[in-house]
Amino acid sequence: MNNRRFRLMAVSLAVATTAGVIAGCSSSGSGTSGATFTTIGYTTVITPGAPMNPFNVTNNVFPTFDAMQLGWNAGNSANPNQELPGLAKSWSLSPDGTSLTVHLQSGAKWSNGKPVTATDVKDSAAIWFAQGTAQTYNLGGVSVDNSSTVTFTEAAGAHNNLFETVLGGASGSATQWIVPAAEYGHLLPSSVWSTIQASEGTGSAATAATTTLTNLAKTIDAYAPKTDISAGPFYIKRLNNSEALLVKNTDFYGASKVDIGQVIMEHQSGAQQIYSYLEGGKLDAAPYTAMASNVYSQVLAAGNKPVRMPSLVASAITFNEQVAPYNNVKVRQALAYVINRDAVQKVGEPTSGTPSTTISGAVSAALPDYMTQTQSASLNPYAPNTAKATSLLQSAGLKLKGGKWYLANGKPWTITLPVPQGFADWTSASSVIKSELTSFGIPTTITGGPSWTEYQPNLFTGKYPVGWWLIALGPGAYSTFSRIYGTYDGYVPAGATVKRYPLGNAAADNFLNTPDTVSVPGAGTLNPGQLTFQLSQLNLGTSAGLAQQKQIATKIIQAVNYEVPVIQLWDYIDLQFVNSKRFSDFPTSDTIVGQDPGLWIADGYVKAK
């Protein structure tokens, strides 16, 4: 019987040895010139069977590596129009801001050797219209000036001070893809531009045209190119269910600056997999990954270098001000004093967040863009202070009996905090908030469970008196503050004015229901909704415009700080990692680091050691 045991062990040994031998073979497998850069799709999760078509929601292309835009938004909190060059080498905005002339990179070619032309851009723009994204930039039309110059014109009557961003979003939220006309052009009917024109009109003709465009978008979404034709620094050579192999595009306009021969993109199905790749030192660069502090120290121990940048977004607790007692500013202020933001951040977002220094509606890192040092120092920091909270609540007519708070009408005050499924940071943070509020005398329960698809409509229709929300979504002051005093507070732009809708109106998702005007000590009576709308009307191309933006933003911040429509908890930190074991010369400036590594490499950063 002993023999049998040995035989079994021998079998397992044999299996292990063969595996080892084979593993040895595979690592010395194929050879390609140039270094191999290993990373994880920054925004792309490799999906078996998904097309190499950037317009499909679930696609297998990689922004900045093989999927390109004319430009990439730099994510500048002061100037949302700042774009980094992509397929566009330069551009100029007409003085009235209604047309943008774009010059393509000289020598830009697709990976099949054909040049990137103005026709490619025009056909791509037709697809943006079909997808419905062009309209959000108030794009009116595109004209081909010559083979390497196009002019975008704004829709008649439109007034969009962010028109330059039609060049492209940041790599994480890009939609304005440029695709080869040779590959996608046959999907577009010859009448596509007249259909687009018709859809901009009114009446049944417009509705019919919109339907045609919607169906066209579906056809385009479903289109699966056989091979990857890329105008970026790399193209996809092979994809399998868990990895993608990209090789250098020698026809890329900046190919001489690209020092990397091939890129391996790893698939990931969860943060825990990224941890393991990082702990194994396998990645040369890794995208934003939230992690606990103990994981963080382990990732550092494996030789990864953290790259931190302020991220233009913050987490906050919102109130529906139609529901008592949250209609009372003192109650909201009191809650801001009860919740210890440091403790909440420490548990909720320990490594990739920083506790908000105050409640302002903008991330702390962007405050200098919107107000002076003295002004921001005068904001109430709402440092934890339960005594102050108690006196505020008592002056608001609430009563403390037997360690529990009762509303003015005598009913006990309880809070239910809903957390959408899968939001680990909000879940952990809620647990701390629950603990803090409950020990303060407001019994709090967390209702986990609703998926985001249930959570969001419930929030928007006012079903959650208290809820979680992302605010301060930059770049730019308008985008930042409209997360509070925009459509979520019922303010919807209508031409050159703004219209306010009450809770329950489908035209807006007014779930905040703040008062129309607020009187802020030291700042007078303000109308935050109007002020926020004014931000969208400024000409940010001028220094006067930027100065005005600052002036208006200061007032809004003061209103937020006093009125507390939301309790801002933490600002996110974009925490990425690079590993200098195999490569050097990683970029350091925030504008480049904030983009996906394809752009670093295209700009001549990242050299093999």
Binding site: Q272, M291, D342, V347, G422, G449, S451
Partner: protein
């Protein structure tokens, strides 16, 4: 057949009762080894935990954000979790959901499974065929995937919901085992005698078959329980169902996916607390299942 026909049903029953009484010292089998005694103790402790656990601690467990993922200490015998709450308290208060849901599921399983198995075995023709087809159907539905699919519309917030979902899809195995036993018992002389005497089927099933099948049910019960505990903990572990209260699966999920406790020794206590609890219960149940087996199956006993 000829020997048993001489006995009246009453005589037969008396004889059987006697034989059962005579061997009352068989109960010692459950405590005759340190392992088994310990297993009994473990089950008792965890059962108590499930029943009274939530009353032992305040509903709002104290947290301490400056003492996150603490190692075991006097103040926190099992360390602390992601917000500095006591792991022991989490284990004790979290036992209810996991164990009572599994117990409820087991109860459902036993009732449906035994009934179906007895009917299918005792009436092997029409009724039995129908019952077995239904059993096949339940067996063919893969348990974990079906719960995963169900989780898209049902969040299993209350333990009874989880218990019912587990039980309804979990009784097939027991039904099949009971049927096999019933089929073989059916041909035994004492059952044939009872039938020969014209006792109604219901009576034969409840007085003759059920007592003899009980040990198999008992053994299966323990193994089923462990299966149910895995399944529900697994659902929480994958994060497929969201949660509002803490339980062992939630702890595992947090420990593995947030604290990455598998490689980080710092959060090891957080991972091991629920894991060892589950392992202890499972091993105790398996050990006791063996004892039950020996209890009724002398062939297994040590001489």
């Amino acid at each position: 057949m000829t020997t048993t026909v001489a006995l009246t049903p009453e005589q037969l029953q008396r004889a059987m009762r006697r034989s059962r009484l005579r061997s009352s010292n068989r109960w010692l089998l459950f405590v005759n080894s340190p392992g088994r005694a310990l297993s009994c103790l473990i089950i008792v402790v965890f059962t108590l935990m499930a029943i009274v656990g939530p009353y032992l601690y305040p509903a709002n467990l104290p947290i301490n954000v400056n003492n996150i993922y603490a190692p075991p200490s006097l103040a926190h015998p099992l360390g602390t979790d992601f917000e500095g709450a006591d792991n022991l308290a989490l284990i004790v208060t979290g036992a209810r959901y996991v164990l009572l849901a599994a117990a409820l599921a087991a109860a459902i399983t036993i009732v449906i499974g035994t009934a179906a198995g007895l009917v299918a075995g005792y009436y092997p023709r029409m009724a039995g065929q129908v019952v077995m087809r239904v059993t096949d159907f339940v067996l063919a539905i893969p348990g974990f995937p079906v719960l995963l699919v169900l989780s898209t519309i049902w969040q299993f917030g209350a333990l009874w919901e989880m218990g019912i979902a587990l039980g309804v899809f979990g009784w097939g195995g027991i039904a099949r085992a009971v049927r096999a036993q019933t089929l073989s018992l059916r041909e035994r002389p004492f059952v044939e005698a009872a039938r020969g005497l014209g006792l109604p089927g219901r009576r034969v099933i409840t007085t003759e078959l059920l007592p003899n099948i009980a040990p198999y049910i008992g053994m299966n019960l323990m193994l089923t329980l462990t299966g149910f505990i895995y399944t529900e903990v697994g659902l929480f572990f994958l994060g497929a169902v969201s949660y509002s209260t803490s339980n062992w699966g939630v702890m595992l999920n947090n420990a593995v996916f947030q604290a990455n406790a598998v490689t980080s020794t710092r959060a090891l206590a957080y991972l091991l607390s629920p894991l060892i609890s589950i392992l202890l219960i499972t091993i105790a149940l398996v050990t006791l299942a063996n004892a039950v087996d020996e209890f009724f199956n002398p062939r297994l006993r040590r001489i």
